[in-house]
């Protein structure tokens, strides 16, 4: 668990707003190299990082583990008097969570900013009830417009900083768990495996551009050309007030194995059987339509790839305080490792 925590700590510390994942590449490469898990690592033009672990057997099939590297964020659309920035969202972000939130502005140098918030004293009656758009908000940098122009331009990415906060009962709060947490869970799984006993090569793709259309997953899967794939993403853990249909997935009950037209049924059933046999906690969910993850992009690559989807329950998704129960992440690592070891 400690090793998983340190992976999460590292992975969540890099910038990587969707479309700007290359900002994370150098540090990510350096860190992953120190782990000694992969025989080969690389990056792609569509923002993906990948590593391949070879079992040493000739013509071994390749199993691909996917998590996405990018996070939701913003991009600057206007530099305003007084050091304010207007921004547009990248990926799905609710405007109402933003006032007074801290952000990092990744310009020529990285500077801090805070979303402006109109104090209640100054609001018109009923104003707080009105719908808010991200494009109505401003980021306050504290700089003059002239200073700001030297650092920031239209198109500069803006993201949430991640400060991990350990809560009770192995709960952890932070930003960017969607989906850096899952990258950490995959790498932790690969660290559990004994290469010499494997019958498959394993590729890990930390794919870019997921939040904006699954582009890193489809192109990197095309490049790696795997025989099977396991997609790991986060899912919504049930909280009071969430729709009744989501009651089945709870924090602390293990990774969520997903049945869906966008996953492979036989591979999914096999994963369930392995979890039962190895007594690894898991839960089940069904996505009769879209999974909202990379599973479909990977599944439909080239001639089609049998794809399994396991999701880690998360609260407060796409906010600066996402909460995960680390036991779920750890048990997901165990399940991934068990599935790969059984091949």
């Amino acid at each position: 668990m400690e090793r998983l925590y340190s992976l999460v700590e590292n992975f969540t510390s890099y910038p990587g707003v969707s479309g700007f994942e290359d900002m994370a590449f150098d540090e990510l490469k350096r860190y992953v190299e120190t782990l000694g898990v992969f025989d080969e690592i690389g990056t792609t033009s569509v923002g993906s990082f990948y590593g391949i672990m070879r079992c040493g057997k000739e013509n071994a099939p390749l199993v691909l583990c996917d998590a996405h590297l990018d996070t939701v964020g913003f991009v600057v659309t206007e530099l305003c008097e007084g050091g304010f920035l207007r921004i547009a969202p990248i990926g799905g972000i609710a405007a109402k969570i933003l006032p007074s939130a801290e952000v990092k502005v990744y310009g020529k140098k990285t500077i801090r900013g805070v979303f402006g918030s109109k104090p209640p004293h100054l609001q018109e009656p009923g104003e707080s009830e009105k719908k808010m758009n991200v494009t109505d908000l401003c980021v306050d940098t504290g700089l003059s417009l002239d200073e700001l122009k030297k650092i920031v331009r239209i198109g500069t990415p803006v993201g949430f900083p991640c400060k991990l906060k350990k809560l009770l009962n192995d709960n952890l709060a932070g930003a960017g768990f969607d989906d850096r947490l899952c990258g950490a869970a995959i790498v932790r799984a690969l660290m559990m495996l004994d290469k010499s006993k494997l019958n498959v090569d394993v590729a890990f793709q930390f794919s870019g551009n997921e939040e904006t259309g699954y582009k890193g997953a489809m192109t990197t899967a095309y490049r790696l050309n795997p025989d099977k794939a396991i997609v790991i993403d986060v899912t919504h853990a049930f909280v009071p007030g969430a729709p009744k249909t989501r009651e089945g997935v709870r924090a602390g009950k293990g990774g969520d194995i997903c049945f869906s037209p966008q996953t492979n049924r036989a591979f999914t059933k096999q994963a369930v059987a392995i979890a039962e046999r190895e007594e690894i906690p898991y839960q089940l969910s069904a996505a009769p339509g879209r999974t909202g993850t990379n599973s479909n992009a990977v599944q439909t690559t080239r001639n089609g790839i049998p794809t399994l989807l396991i999701s880690i329950p998360l609260k407060n998704m796409h906010t600066m305080s996402e909460i995960v129960n680390m036991n779920d992440a750890y048990n997901t690592s165990r399940l991934i490792a068990a599935v790969i070891a059984s091949m």
Binding site: S18, G19, F20, D22, T44, S45, V46, S48, V75, V76, T77, E78, R86, A88, I90, T135, R153, I154, G155, N209, T212, G213, K215, G216, M218, T219, T220, Y222, R223
Partner: protein, 331 residues
């Protein structure tokens, strides 16, 4: 370049029916092409070999424009049409339309429609026929029409026309193909089909080319009166280097490279962040194992109206920037 724009403007080229323009472009570029072909989707693919043939650059501009398809000829001779692509009903009604066979008509609105209820499915074409039978001699179900060609010089350096989206960019691409020195990489000038209905031509042509680098050329909406949609690219402020639209986030590598080339060559440029609307850029980015993709956008007012308006200085800046990239490459 303006002569090319005018010529391309007159061709009939609604999404799915781009053959006429494809042949014109093919003829224009036959002289400079190392290879030239038209694929099953109707995309024109022109290869100009470069210094380094280990890398491929794809340039896409789309030949098609939005239009209408006949869905029913009514007994009284009125022709009910359905939109092809994102029609702006308000901007289109009561304008001349022209069918592929040359038949002219007026786009009119169903009687009793209030302005607030005006949508593309309330539109009819009146070709002057006084009965269904007479109308059917000219037009049948499945025929397509588009706004009739119009090209006006406004004062200063500005021009208004229908379908600058994206003929003007086809003209920029053709201009670059004709005027660039030896390209850095093998360069594929692709004139795509069916962009307005979902980038359907760019998808297979990108897979056929499998580029390492790609540049789309398209128009981007520029504000005129007020700017409620937070548009960043302004008319007259130069070539717009795309940061993102709703279909793509452009490669930082290419954004930075285009910026450097514009600075080095004194080409006026600006950045574009577009919140709604997609381009062929996305399809080139995801072809095969992916490419470094970006888009040079021409700021255009009143996009998808009969009076799309551009500035000829921006046009030139886009052409110069494209040529600079073709000749100097991404590194």
């Amino acid at each position: 370049m303006l002569n090319h724009v005018k010529k391309y403007q007159n061709a009939f080229s609604v999404s799915g029916y781009e053959t006429e323009l494809a042949e014109i472009i093919k003829t224009d570029l036959a002289g400079i092409a190392d290879e030239i072909s038209i694929d099953a989707m109707g995309n024109v693919i022109v290869l100009k070999k470069g210094k380094d043939s280990s890398k491929k650059l794809m340039i896409a501009s789309h030949m098609d424009e939005i239009g209408f398809m006949v869905v029913n000829v009514e007994d009284n001779g009125m022709i009910r049409v359905a939109p092809i692509g994102g029609i702006n009903a308000l901007a289109s009604c009561y304008h001349n339309v022209k069918f592929q066979n040359g038949t002219q008509g007026i786009l009119v609105v169903e009687d009793g429609t209030r302005a607030s209820d005006l949508t593309a499915n309330k539109l009819f074409v009146d070709i002057g026929a006084d009965s269904g039978a007479k109308a059917k001699r000219k037009v049948k179900v499945g025929d397509v029409c588009a706004l009739a060609p119009m090209f006006k010089k406004l004062s200063s350096k500005r021009y208004a026309s229908k379908a600058f989206d994206d003929r003007v960019c086809c003209a920029i691409s053709a201009y670059a193909a004709l005027n660039c020195k030896v390209p850095a990489y093998d360069t594929y000038f692709v004139f795509t089909t069916q962009e307005e209905v979902g980038c359907r031509g760019a998808k297979p042509s990108s897979f056929a080319v499998m580029p390492d680098y790609s540049i789309a050329l398209d128009v981007t909406p520029a504000p005129a009166c007020g700017n409620p949609n937070h548009l960043t690219a302004k008319l007259g402020n130069g070539a717009a280097i795309k940061i993102k639209d709703s279909s793509v986030i452009c490669s930082r590598k290419i954004v930075d490279r285009l910026t450097d080339l514009a600075e080095a060559n004194n080409i006026k440029y600006q950045y574009e962040v577009l919140l709604a609307g997609g381009t062929d850029t996305s399809q080139m980015q995801i072809a095969g194992a992916g490419s470094h993709a970006c888009c040079i956008s021409l700021p255009t007012r009143y996009v998808h109206s009969p009076v799309e308006t551009i500035d000829s200085d921006d046009l030139k800046a886009c052409g110069d920037l494209l040529i600079a990239f073709i000749e100097n490459g991404a590194e």
